[in-house]
C-alpha cells in the first residue's frame, strides 16, 4: 500500500470516497490529506485535516476532517503519515468532531480523547429561517446589496480590513479565497463611501448546503447593519433557493452561538463525538 499526498491534482481520485464537499475543500489553502492507494492506483483510504493558525505566530491547530480506510492497517498507515506531518508542520494540537463513532474510536487509539456532545454545527432549512422573529419584508436601505453587486477590489479591501481586525469568521484561509468562492446572489454586503463595511458571507457546497462563513460589520451603526444583512441574506436565499434547502450554521464563536440561540432557539446541533490531543 502506498501513502501519497492528496492535492488538487489528484483529489478527483478520492472524491468518491470522501464525498464532493471534502473533495472541493481540498482546493483550499490549509487543507491537507494523505491517501492510501495500491500499486494499480486504486484508492483504499484517506485522511483529511484542516490547519488553523498557520499564518500567525501562535499555535497551529489541526482539525481531523475525515479518516477512511478499507482496513485497520490502512488507517494506521494514514495515521502514521499524519504523525509525521505533525512534526514537519509544527502542529501543536489536533482535534476532531464527528457523528461517526467508528472514526472517533480510531482516533482514540491514536491518542485522542473522546466525548459525546452536541455538535457545533446547526442544520436548519430556509423554511425554518423564514420563520425567525424579524420582519423579513422590511424595506432595506439602498446600501445593503448582494455580493454580486460589489467589485473584486471592494471585496478584497474588505477582506484585508477584516483580517487586520482579526475577524475571519469560520474561514481561516479567508485571504486566499476569491469572491466567487462565496454564493454571490445570497451573500450580502453593506457599502458605505464605496467601501464594504459589513458582510454576511454564505458558501454553497457541492452537495447543495448553504454554509454561513462570515457575519460582521464595522463603522457607525454596525448593529443595525448586521440586522439588515441578516434580512437581506434571508430574502435573497428565499428568492434563489427552495424552502427545503439546508443551511449549516457553524457556531464557531460565542457571538454566533448567542445569535443562533436568539433567532433559532429550538435548533440544536446533532450528537457528535469530539476529542483532542497534543500534537
Amino acid at each position: 500500500m502506498n501513502i501519497i499526498d492528496i492535492a488538487k491534482e489528484n483529489i478527483e481520485d478520492f472524491s468518491e470516497l470522501l464525498g464532493p464537499d471534502i473533495a472541493e475543500d481540498m482546493n483550499r489553502q490549509f487543507y491537507r490529506g494523505f491517501g492510501a492507494v495500491d500499486d494499480s492506483g486504486a484508492v483504499h483510504g484517506a485522511m483529511i485535516y484542516e490547519l488553523f493558525g498557520v499564518d500567525l505566530d501562535g499555535d497551529t491547530t489541526s482539525r481531523i476532517v475525515a479518516l477512511e480506510g478499507d482496513s485497520q492497517d490502512i488507517k494506521d498507515e494514514l495515521k502514521n503519515a499524519y504523525a509525521k506531518d505533525v512534526t514537519e508542520s509544527s502542529i501543536d494540537k489536533s482535534f476532531y468532531e464527528t457523528p461517526n463513532e467508528v472514526m472517533a474510536d480510531d482516533l482514540v487509539s491514536f491518542g485522542f480523547s473522546k466525548n459525546a456532545q452536541e455538535g457545533r454545527e446547526v442544520i436548519v432549512t430556509l423554511a425554518d429561517v423564514a420563520k425567525i422573529p424579524i420582519d423579513l419584508k422590511a424595506k432595506l436601505p439602498p446600501y445593503i446589496v448582494t455580493l454580486s453587486d460589489v467589485s473584486v477590489i471592494q471585496y478584497r479591501n474588505f477582506v484585508k480590513k477584516a483580517i487586520l481586525k482579526g475577524n475571519k469568521g469560520s474561514v481561516d484561509d479567508l485571504a486566499y479565497l476569491s469572491r466567487s468562492w462565496f454564493e454571490k446572489d445570497v451573500s450580502s454586503c453593506s457599502v458605505t463611501d464605496d467601501k464594504i463595511d459589513g458582510v454576511f458571507l454564505i458558501r454553497k457546497t457541492p452537495s447543495g448546503v448553504l454554509q454561513t462563513k462570515l457575519y460582521t460589520a464595522y463603522g457607525p451603526e454596525y448593529v443595525k447593519k448586521l440586522g439588515f444583512l441578516l434580512i437581506k441574506t434571508i430574502q435573497s436565499g428565499l428568492e434563489n433557493y427552495p424552502p427545503e434547502t439546508k443551511i449549516a450554521i457553524n457556531r464557531h464563536s460565542k457571538e454566533v452561538a448567542a445569535m443562533t440561540k436568539k433567532i433559532l432557539a429550538s435548533a440544536k446541533g446533532e450528537n457528535v463525538f469530539s476529542g483532542t490531543r497534543n500534537g
Binding site: Y143, I153, K160, K161, L164, G166, L174, T192, D193, P220
Partner: protein, 348 residues
C-alpha cells in the same frame, strides 16, 4: 438677566474671540484645500461662530445706548441672529465630530436630517420669538429678559455636544483606538466658558469656542507637517513619532510591505492608484523619492500576501513599473528592532 449698560469686559472678551476666529478662518482657508472634507466642515463652523461673535458685539454696542434711539426691534432681530448662529454652530459641530469619528461622508449624508432637523426647529422657534416672546424679550428700559422656556430651549444645543462626545467615546472604545483629542479640544473650553458665563454673567462663550477652534486648527495643521504633499502619504518625518509610539508600546509594527517605483514615474498618479487598495488601518510612508512602505500591526501572512498581490496587480494594470517586497516580524523579534532593521529613518 438685566443688561442695562455695556460691559467693557464683555466687549473685550467678544472682540478677542472675533479676532481669534478671523485669524483661524484665514489660516484655515489657506491650509485646507477644497478636497479636504474635514477642513471644509471646520471652516463652516468657524464662519458660523464668527457671525455669532460679530453679531454679539453689535448687540453689546447697540444695547449700551439706553436712550431708545436704537429701535428695540433691531436689537431683537440681532439677538435672534445670535441664537440662530449659535444653534447652527452646534449643529455643524456635531457634523464635524461625526466625520472626525467615523471618517464617512456618506454616513453624514444619511444622517443629515436627523442632525439638522432639531436645529432647524430651534431656528424656527427663535424666529417665532420675534412675534411671540417665548424665549426672551428686549426693550431699552428693562433690557434683556429671558423666559423660563429659554432653559428648555437650550437643552437640545447641549445635547449636540453630549452626543458628539458619547458617540466618539463609544466608537473609540469599540475600535480600541486612541482617544480623539480633537473633540475635547473644543468641548472643554466650551463647557468651562459656559460655566464661567453662568457664574459671572460675562458673555464668554464665544471666546471659549474660539479657543477651542484655535486648538483644533493647531492640531490639524500639526498633522500636516507629516504629510508628503505629492503623494498624500506620510513623509519620512512620520517615522520618528512612529518609532516613539513603538518604543512606548502603544504601536506594534508587525508587517512591512515595501514598494519601489521606477524612476521617472508619476508619483502622484501612482499614489492615487495604489490608494484604492491600501487599508485605512495601515500607515503608508514615502521614505524617499520613489520608495514607499506600508506598516501594519498585523502579522497575518494572508493579509501580507493579499496586499502585496493587490499592489502588484493594480500597479501593473495602471502601467506602473514597481517592485513589491514584504517582511513579517519574527515571533520573538522586538517591534522597535523590526522597525529599525527594515526602515531607514531619522529620529527627530
Amino acid at each position: 438677566m438685566n443688561m442695562a449698560s455695556i460691559s467693557i469686559v464683555d466687549l473685550d472678551i467678544n472682540v478677542a474671540a472675533l479676532v481669534l476666529l478671523i485669524g483661524v478662518l484665514v489660516m484655515s482657508l489657506r491650509a485646507f484645500n477644497k478636497k479636504n472634507f474635514r477642513g471644509k466642515l471646520f471652516v463652516n463652523i468657524v464662519i458660523l461662530m464668527l457671525i455669532n461673535a460679530a453679531v454679539n458685539i453689535a448687540v453689546l454696542f447697540l444695547t449700551s445706548d439706553t436712550s431708545g434711539r436704537v429701535p428695540d426691534s433691531l436689537i431683537m432681530v440681532l439677538l435672534t441672529a445670535v441664537e440662530i448662529s449659535y444653534t447652527m454652530v452646534m449643529v455643524e459641530w456635531l457634523f464635524y465630530a461625526m466625520y472626525d469619528t467615523f471618517k464617512s461622508e456618506e454616513y453624514l449624508k444619511r444622517k443629515r436630517w436627523l442632525v439638522l432637523g432639531p436645529g432647524l426647529v430651534l431656528v424656527v422657534i427663535a424666529v417665532i420669538n420675534l412675534f411671540v416672546p417665548i424665549l426672551f424679550t428686549y426693550d431699552h428700559v428693562n433690557g434683556y429678559q429671558s423666559e423660563i422656556f429659554y432653559l428648555v430651549y437650550n437643552i437640545p444645543r447641549h445635547l449636540y455636544i453630549i452626543i458628539s462626545v458619547v458617540q466618539n467615546t463609544r466608537y473609540r472604545l469599540r475600535e480600541k483606538s486612541a482617544g480623539a483629542l480633537n473633540i475635547w479640544l473644543f468641548v472643554i473650553p466650551l463647557v468651562l466658558s459656559t460655566v464661567v458665563e453662568t457664574i459671572t454673567g460675562y458673555s464668554i462663550t464665544a471666546l471659549g469656542c474660539a479657543i477651542g477652534f484655535t486648538s483644533i486648527y493647531i492640531v490639524m495643521t500639526s498633522e500636516m507637517c507629516y504629510t508628503d504633499f505629492e503623494s498624500g502619504f506620510f513623509n519620512p518625518n512620520y517615522l520618528s513619532p512612529l518609532y516613539n509610539r513603538t518604543e512606548a508600546g502603544s504601536y506594534l509594527p508587525s508587517s512591512i510591505i515595501t514598494f519601489k517605483l521606477k524612476e521617472g514615474e508619476d508619483v502622484e498618479a501612482f499614489s492615487n492608484t495604489i490608494r484604492t487598495v491600501l487599508p485605512d488601518e495601515c500607515d503608508t510612508i514615502r521614505t524617499d523619492t520613489n520608495s514607499f512602505i506600508t506598516v501594519s500591526e498585523s502579522k497575518d501572512r494572508g493579509y501580507v500576501f493579499m496586499l502585496s498581490e493587490d499592489l502588484s496587480m493594480i500597479a501593473e494594470d495602471a502601467g506602473f513599473d514597481v517592485e513589491v517586497d514584504s517582511v513579517v516580524r519574527g515571533k520573538n523579534e522586538p517591534p522597535e528592532d523590526f522597525l529599525i532593521d527594515n526602515v531607514v529613518f531619522k529620529r527627530g
